[in-house]
Amino acid sequence: MARRAVAAWLCAAVLEAGAGPLGPPATPGLGEPVSAAALTAADLGVFPDGRGLPAGRGDVPTGRALFEARCASCHGPAGAGGSGGRLVGREPLAGTPLSFRSVGQFWPYATTLFDYIRRAMPLDRPGTLSVDESYALTAYLLQANGVIGEDAVIDARSLPAVRMPNRDGFIRRDREPAAR
């Protein structure tokens, strides 16, 4: 009986390790060491607590001018929406269709805004905005949504401290074991 239990345990342990009857699969071990310096901005996540944010800064007036020059052609004047999604607006969220949900209505973290601007915008030339330009655009969009004031400066320290209006608007399904 005890022996069978041990055998079952061993079997479960082997399965858990993803190993076949011959033990763990032998790998050729060809991964090459990568230095932190070799990682690009695109490889790095920006986290809600500010980890991953680069040095730099931006203010609202700079961001406003940049937005009109680089972003308004798709997102509309003052982010009111166009061929690209609407970005600015503080109406109640319930009932708002997907592409009309503004940053101020829906986005739970301000760090996401910086990351997405730097990573993916503008759509026809992603990755071309500098860190300072990305911070400035972030500052402007937060101000336009009424989240920060006109005088605010956004950088790696101030951005994670910004509390978004919809911060508590999400149900984390990864925390419900049954839902998976």
């Binding site: 996540g45 986290f47 990864d174």
Partner: protein, 421 residues
């Protein structure tokens, strides 16, 4: 034989649905017997039978007569040709595997033209040593293959519309495809880098313009995640992630990040744009579901479906696809009377877990209006809901994860259109 046929054609549910074994049992024929061929050799033969055919081809293509079987492309914004989707024409396909050229595509800024010699996957973050893997290196690793479906989280989103959308089934439900994927088990690469105890998430990033990024729970990724290099035996198609993609069976397609360039181990998700502002489901309460990973149990009848016409009363085969990210499809039932009665369809073996499963059932159409529906149940007991039940639970603004029963209205002329029943 005649008597047996007549007996087999006794319906087992309303509207004329036949026993699921009827075609197997009597070899029922749909077409009249053809006239006998002329006796004289060569005489009366079509040209293709009386002269040599085309030379060998180095890469085969579909018949020119099938040129209309194509993906349908829909763009999200006029500003960019690369943000949108190409839909699999599921109404034109049979079986369960999707030809590579017809696999659905959802990309956010076009298909990058990656030189595989210069592409590298880096595993970094909370690992003992950050490592880079080139394509050639990965090809030397032990591989695994799995047949699984991929479905975009936004597939079938038109189902949330107030009025039933009148479009071909592939243009509503065709952001699902099924392939045999082969590649390197993710766990092998994680073990080589040495995951630190604090790590609980992997932030996966693609090499496309805009660096598409999604966070996935480490436990799930380690369990059955694959760095896929092959799709139905050949290397990945560019639009499906060449030269390598993440593959997370059963999960929404967006987390199987294409053109995979980076796996960052972390103690929390990145909360990237596409796991907060998008790919989350807003509920009537104003709260939104986040990190809904698994695609739920679902089915749809592909034949007959929207835009098709039945050629008069008689015997037809109702065919469709069923799938569940939670496991195997256990049962598909079909109704020809709008859900008043149901008959069990035959499932094509093998019905693999998290794989498209083909179902079929005979139907004798009387010529009277009918409403066809299919309802799938998976091995975990999850049942595909009615549209009314799904909308009652989630409202109509969730956009993602629509999986309700689909209804096709057959009118007295045999014309098939979409209905909410």
């Amino acid at each position: 034989m005649q008597a047996e046929s007549d007996d087999a054609l006794q319906p087992v549910a309303g509207g004329g649905l036949l026993d699921r074994r009827v075609f197997l049992r009597c070899g029922l024929s749909f077409t009249p017997v053809l006239a006998a061929a002329p006796v004289a050799a060569g005489e009366g033969l079509p040209a293709w039978s009386s002269r040599p055919g085309l030379p060998f081809a180095d890469y085969g293509q579909p018949s020119p007569h099938e040129r209309r079987v194509l993906r349908r492309v829909g763009l999200n914004f006029q500003v960019s040709g690369g943000n949108g989707a190409a839909w699999t024409p599921i109404e034109d396909l049979e079986g369960t595997l999707t030809p590579n050229g017809l696999h659905f595509v959802r990309s956010h800024n076009g298909t990058p033209e990656i030189d595989p010699a210069r592409h590298r996957l880096v595993v970094h973050g909370r690992v003992r040593r950050a490592l880079g893997f080139g394509v050639d290196a990965l090809r030397r690793y032990p591989m695994r293959s799995c047949q699984v479906f991929l479905e975009c989280g936004g597939n079938s989103s038109a189902g949330w519309y107030e009025e039933p959308v009148e479009r071909p089934v592939g243009l509503v439900h065709g952001l699902v495809s099924c392939s045999e994927w082969s590649g390197v088990p993710l766990g092998l690469l994680l073990d080589e880098a040495g995951v630190e105890a604090e790590a609980s998430w992997i932030v996966a990033t693609g090499a496309d313009a805009g660096g598409f990024q999604m966070s996935v729970p480490l436990a799930r990724a380690r369990e059955d995640g694959l760095v896929a290099l092959f799709q139905n035996g050949e290397r990945l198609r560019p639009e499906n992630g060449y030269p390598m993609r993440l593959l997370l069976p059963g999960c929404k397609g967006s987390v199987s990040v294409k053109w995979l360039r980076s796996l960052q181990l972390a103690d929390q998700p990145a909360m990237s744009r596409n796991e907060t502002a998008r790919y989350t489901e807003l509920l009537p309460s104003g709260q939104a579901r986040q990190f809904t990973m698994v695609m739920d149990v679902k089915s749809v009848i592909t034949t007959p479906s929207h835009g098709q016409s039945l050629q008069g009363p008689g015997v037809y085969e109702v065919r469709g696809l069923a799938w569940s990210g939670h496991g195997r499809i256990a049962k598909v039932e079909v109704s020809a009377d709008g859900g008043a009665s149901w008959a069990e369809a035959a499932l094509q073996a093998p019905a693999l877990p998290r794989c498209l499963t083909r179902f079929r059932i005979g139907w004798r159409w009387s010529g009277k209006p009918a409403v066809l529906q299919s309802r799938a149940v998976d091995e975990t007991g999850r049942v595909q809901p009615t549209r009314a039940a799904l909308v009652a639970e989630r409202g109509r603004l969730g956009f993602y994860h629509y999986h309700a029963i689909v209804s096709w209205d057959v009118d007295a002329h045999g014309y098939v259109s979409h209905t909410y029943g």
